[in-house]
């Protein structure tokens, strides 16, 4: 009787482990696929090509600079997503991205970087901030006729650096925020952070009446 119970328990355990293993490989390949998708929004790419087409006649040197910026951004987005960079590198690229969006959106896009005193050589997975910033513009700035300010701030805690991206919301884009694509990008960043730092809950979302806040936590040992 007890022997058969043990055999059963072992068999069950075997199937359970195998099931877990299958789930994990599935989610890994899914993550890889999502990573590809979340790299750059086609919406951004085509609109920006259009901006450059317009700049060529009236401001050729700015058009030139814009193509260089776009090339840098695109190169970065084609990197292996398993790769690690420093917070400083990531921030430099994101500033370039915002400069690009600035040409397109004009006065409607304002950005406020509050990262004084944050150590820039902290390692983190490449493109950790890009999808979040893209979302902030796509959902927070573009749907608003008057635009708004995206605030990127950093804070040092005992064992981590906490980066917060804040974008305004209008009642209209509250509904749009739920649209697909948004979730995908956030999940992707969350997954990559937790697999690199081997820690859960490194990305948090807070939605209030008129603002949307994404926080990422970058653990560091110093």
């Amino acid at each position: 009787m007890s022997i058969s119970a043990i055999v059963w328990a072992l068999a069950l355990r075997y199937f359970y482990v195998q099931h877990q293993w299958r789930l994990r490989t599935l989610s890994e390949s899914e993550a890889r696929f999502q990573a590809l998708q979340s790299r750059i929004k086609p919406h951004f790419l085509f609109n920006y090509m259009n901006t450059i087409a317009s700049l060529i006649r009236h401001n050729p040197s700015l058009a030139e600079e814009s193509i260089e910026d776009l090339a840098d951004l695109f190169r970065a987005s084609l990197q292996d997503t398993q790769k690690i960079c420093t917070l400083g590198d990531e921030i430099a690229l994101r500033k370039r991205y915002l400069r690009i969006e600035q040409h397109r959106l004009g006065d409607r896009l304002k950005s406020d970087w509050k990262l004084n005193g944050i150590s820039e050589d902290i390692p983190l997975p490449v493109l950790s901030l890009q999808p979040l910033l893209e979302n902030a513009i796509y959902h927070g700035i573009e749907p608003n006729p008057d635009g708004g300010t995206i605030t990127i701030s950093g804070e040092i805690t005992k064992d981590a650096i906490v980066i917060t991206i804040l974008n305004p919301l209008t009642t209209q884009n509250c509904q749009q925020q739920k649209r697909s694509g948004n979730q995908l990008a956030q999940d992707n960043v969350r997954l990559r952070l937790s697999s690199y730092f081997n820690q859960e809950n490194l990305l948090h979302i807070e939605q209030h009446a008129n603002e949307y806040k994404v926080t990422i936590i970058i653990p560091c040992t110093q």
Binding site: P42, H43, L45, F46, N47, M49, N50, T51, A53, S54, L55, R57, H58, H103, R104, L105, G106, R108, E142, P143, N144, P145, T171, Q172, Q175
Partner: protein, 244 residues
């Protein structure tokens, strides 16, 4: 020929202006920044052709086109879009033409030709396209070729009286030619049916009260009138109010 260009991005408008002046320097070109502004300008300036982006803040291109089709004369509408897969599909059936950004000179020339050929007074069937989309943010009421736009968020309730449906909003009452049934379907997230002849905006409800004789009434913010709730709608209303 008068052409209205609608896009929220200044450089995107500039590009179309440039291309149009490459085609013909005689065009009279006017511009708008979003769908709402486009409607106001269309009403005033009566452009022959509207070249309009789809994704814009405030009111998007599809909704603006829907309201424009109630104007007379109706402009010919050509959509310009960067990347909207399902929207592109929808145009194939209904719009005079659609162009992809960055627009090619050759394609723009073709589209303008097509607009002239089909005739500028063509009424586009944008209501059909609107169906796949999210609900409208404005209702439009037209009389004598003019358009009145009512922001849906400001509407307290709709009341049906035989054939006509009246919208109550901002201390005004406006007759519409919409049906209660369609309104109920389209705005199911904002309005609830409380009676055979009334839809109420859930966000404007002040109180649901029980009278001495056991009937229920609803009171709305900023409106003196009370609304009787029919018995069969009570359970659903209570459920909805709980979720708010």
């Amino acid at each position: 020929m008068k052409i209205l260009i609608v896009d929220d991005e200044q450089l995107a408008r500039q590009r179309i202006v440039d291309l149009l002046s490459d085609i013909d320097t005689e065009y009279i070109i006017i511009q708008a920044k979003n769908g709402l502004q486009a409607l106001e300008i269309t009403e005033k300036e009566e452009p022959d052709i509207v070249l309009m982006d789809i994704r814009m803040p405030g009111m998007d291109g599809l909704e603006s086109a829907t309201h424009m089709s109630a104007l007379s004369p109706t402009p010919a509408i050509i959509f310009i879009t960067a990347f909207e897969e399902h929207a592109v599909k929808a145009f194939e059936a209904n719009a005079i033409d659609y162009l992809l950004k960055p627009v090619r000179l050759k394609r723009l020339r073709q589209a303008l030709k097509k607009a002239k050929m089909i005739g500028l007074s063509r009424i586009n069937n944008f209501q059909e396209m609107q169906k796949d989309k999210s609900s409208r943010s404005y209702l439009s009421v037209s009389s004598q070729g003019k358009i009145l736009l009512i922001p849906v968020d400001k509407i307290l309730c709709f009341k049906a009286d035989q054939k006509y449906v009246t919208a109550y909003w901002d201390n005004q009452q406006t007759l519409t030619d919409e049906s209660l049934k369609n309104l109920e379907q389209e705005f199911s997230d904002k309005f609830i049916r409380i009676h055979r002849n009334a839809l109420i905006s859930t966000s404007h409800i002040n109180a649901l009260e029980k009278t001495k004789d056991g009937a229920y009434i609803i009171k709305l913010n900023n409106l003196d009138e009370e609304f009787t709730v029919s018995r069969r709608h009570i359970p659903e209303i209570k459920k909805k109010l709980k979720n708010i």
